[in-house]
Symmetry: C2
Subunit: 332 residues, 2 copies
Amino acid sequence: MSIANPYLMFLGDAPDQLAAKTANGVAKWRPEWCVGQLRLPGCQADIGLQDMTLEEGVAAGAKTLIVGVANQGGFLPENWIATLEQALDLGMDVASGLHMRLTDLPGFGEKAAKLGRSLFDARHPARDFSVGKGNKRTGKRLLTVGTDVSVGKMFTSLAIEKEMKARGMNADFRATGQTGIFIAGSGVSVDAVVADFISGSAEWLSPDNDADHWDLVEGQGSLFHASYAGVTLGLLHGSQPDAIVLCHEPTRPHMRGTPQIPMPGLQAVIDANIAAGRLTNPNIRCIGVSMNTSALSADEADTVLRAVESELGLPCVDAFRQGAGRLVDALD
Amino acid sequence: MSIANPYLMFLGDAPDQLAAKTANGVAKWRPEWCVGQLRLPGCQADIGLQDMTLEEGVAAGAKTLIVGVANQGGFLPENWIATLEQALDLGMDVASGLHMRLTDLPGFGEKAAKLGRSLFDARHPARDFSVGKGNKRTGKRLLTVGTDVSVGKMFTSLAIEKEMKARGMNADFRATGQTGIFIAGSGVSVDAVVADFISGSAEWLSPDNDADHWDLVEGQGSLFHASYAGVTLGLLHGSQPDAIVLCHEPTRPHMRGTPQIPMPGLQAVIDANIAAGRLTNPNIRCIGVSMNTSALSADEADTVLRAVESELGLPCVDAFRQGAGRLVDALD
């Protein structure tokens, strides 16, 4: 079940640009799917699309209204609901990345069903999964792994997809979080799956495929994060990657959310992922490092990238500044 | 919220002894909590307790009827329902280890609420959890880990609790699966928790305690099981054990449920658990091995136990045949 595009991006009355991070990611990676943005009075976010009403969005071809904005608590505020209901009336589907489900809005699920519209809650799995089987599947897979959360794993996977498609390669980004799901049009929020089915959901996400096809699986968490490592390990086992790319943010002093735990060394993270990943793919290898150097000057970034490249003996790039060309080269 | 004891053990019309495995475990480890067994016509299981009607169970002091029987699909069959409803009428709580929730029986939750009775679905978390924080807690913790699923982790944890209590030590078994939850009277089915909260649920399960107190946490799965390793890693991080005991079944040719994956070496399993466990407890150590040698003769078992003890340089016991004394000795 895919989210129909093109999208009209709903920003609500987002108090700042950061609150519209999800919408921003969709607009960056799928500009061809985004007909415009819909902002309510007071909205302080702007993702650079044309402002539109619902009617203008429909006229521009929008099939789904994407609630691409976060707020404290993840709920759907009262003053957004009329817009969401009107979207259904005008023939659009509605998709949300909030914690609160669209179907938890009184009467909203019934209204959508009556009108024949689809609702997507990207943070909540819409189906049941089997337990992982660990069998080798056909096709090739690349998983981004990280020293920590929020170090650029989704960004790196998408940059690799973009580079591969530019080269005419057979590749698909596979989404494991809500922003990625809007960008891919489908996927699974793996951290919201029942624990028994983590690896099973990852197996479902990248099924058998052509021998030359690459699934570019969006990583989650870190094997070294005390909150989320279970998700990371199940995703690694279920994705059975042939290749991993290590993602890192070089200025972070400690693990995000657990200040007492220091950042692990890059080689230690590679080694732990390779050791664990061998269970379902004995040929797993690390092909490079992707650093988010946005907090550094160009000169500082260059120094850090060269130092890590020399230390690890692997291509080390900032996919935002330099693209993912050298990572894709390393797959040969 | 604890399950009130003593229990009347409901075996339904279980087709064989194995179907009553959960009830059997409760009767073995908490005989003082089990007033009797209630069997329907056709029941082929017998856990060695006195047969009783509901009325006789109540007269004997039973506070909770435990549905300690499994069946294909995990549902509650029609012909059990009258008994469960009558238990509520007679003043008992009802607890079930089936996949299907008691509250999914039409009208059953309402009936219980009206009568002021409690329902417990041991396979389903009854509360929300926070994400794990990774902070060191007071008190001491021992976690059983395994080469595979179903190798005696619950049994070993309970044998250690029994030995510690016999020595007057301050210790509690902490349950992470449905049979364990009936035995402890509380706990969390960690494999049924939403993936983001695995380590958080384990932190909740063994909170701060007295400096001399041991939490004996029931392990789940294996870091080397392609289906469940995510659960295992989150449980390890959240339990932050000071000590682990490796559990193993020496005659098993491959991982249960994934026949293409061979059993890992014992030292490799110890090393992987120690390496991962250091994230939340740098002082983690493996204090011994617990082997389920029930498939071997006494002589064969003796040979295997000696060989592993010599190979690993750690106490190696069959807790069923020999008790857990040497494991508890190794904590000094």
